[in-house]
Symmetry: C2
Subunit: 190 residues, 2 copies
DNA sequence: TAGAATTTTCAGAAATTTCTGAAACTTAAG
DNA sequence: CTTAAGTTTCAGAAATTTCTGAAAATTCTA
């Protein structure tokens, strides 16, 4: 396994960025490598290509599986486990997005929900709780929105992201849309 | 400065989540505290409330300023620097969003752009570059979209996030919208 | 069932990040 | 000026995270 300088740079960069994206350097590198490499790779190949220990590869693969970013394959007549990136670039991006939502939002929502249960003992606490409520409402909405985006199919997602400044125009339209939509009985069922 | 157990929990949690959101524990705590506390706080108060060193507070404040999340105030007749969260919860969320986009996307886009310049030497490299192109296109679009969202005013943003499953319906409408919009000359100027 | 091939685990080493606190620096007041 | 109040800096200590590699566990083959 020799990496072209292109691949090398790509892999190293993803290693560096890894921490910002939620995993550590070697996990980032492994993911990057599995992403640009078309053929499945086994643990030894990864260890060799990235010059890291076999044990580290094993842990990294476990983590990438927890992220649902890679999948296991087998080559006929070979007992080794081979891995590839799980799906297209789009699939991967979507998965990262969903996983990050889970990890970055859910625990906070749970805590805030809890904090909002008990009622404030004094003025001071009342004000704090108000703020907590604001933070909660916002994060809750964000979470819902992220959810909505996750559910869009690729076509719609693409359409949405390509809208650019057309988005606000579309939103303006929105209030009228309900009416407009009703006015257009286009297709009945389905 | 004594924190209610509510505030305590809020602050500690933001400390723990900090790393996932892009800053370290104490910076997360400082930010949380400035967010729920309505009055401006000075460095000594922060250090005392969070039981961390004065030096650490100074560094943390610098970082929060780099994130544009806090602002400096002065109390008449007091030479100390006082800080508050910069704006409403919405403002803060928006700022975090923008800063994260900068830190998580921009460096990668820059690198990938660069990698795409040189042309592949062999089959292997060609395939890798294809993948890199795919990743680039996706991240570029994501970046644009994040940009678009950042520019929306609060009203529109709220509308959009509240759409839920209405979003895909609105998108369906989109193709027709261009026409519809032109057909409605509603208001001329302003 | 033995043993060979492969993967996983995990204690401690190495690397990295965060934090402290004393000293240096800055600014305003007297 | 000189001094006092306040802030920043930064070397090294402490804490945390990551990584290694040998041993244990698992799985397949014969």
């Amino acid at each position: 396994m020799k990496l072209s300088s292109q691949a090398q740079a790509f892999v190293l960069h993803f290693g560096e960025m890894g921490s910002r994206w939620g995993f550590n350097r070697t996990v980032g590198q492994m993911f990057a490598l599995l992403t640009i490499h078309n053929e499945p790779l086994n643990a030894d190949q990864l260890a060799e290509a990235l010059k890291i220990s076999r044990g580290n590869v094993s842990m990294g693969l476990k983590e990438l599986q927890a992220w649902r970013l890679i999948e296991l394959h087998h080559q006929p007549g070979d007992r080794k486990d081979y891995f590839t990136a799980a799906g297209s670039i789009w699939d991967l991006a979507r998965t990262v997005f969903e996983e990050r939502r889970k990890r970055e939002l859910d625990p906070t929502l749970t805590l805030l929900r809890q904090l909002l249960l008990s009622d404030p003992r004094d003025q001071q606490e009342a004000q704090a709780q108000e703020k907590i409520q604001e933070v909660y409402s916002l994060l809750e909405m964000l979470d819902q929105f992220a959810n909505t985006l996750s559910r869009l199919d690729e076509k719609d997602l693409l359409k949405l992201m390509k809208l650019g400044s057309g988005l606000s125009k579309l939103l303006e339209l929105k209030s009228r849309a309900g009416i407009t939509a009703k006015k257009e009985p286009k297709s009945r069922k389905k």
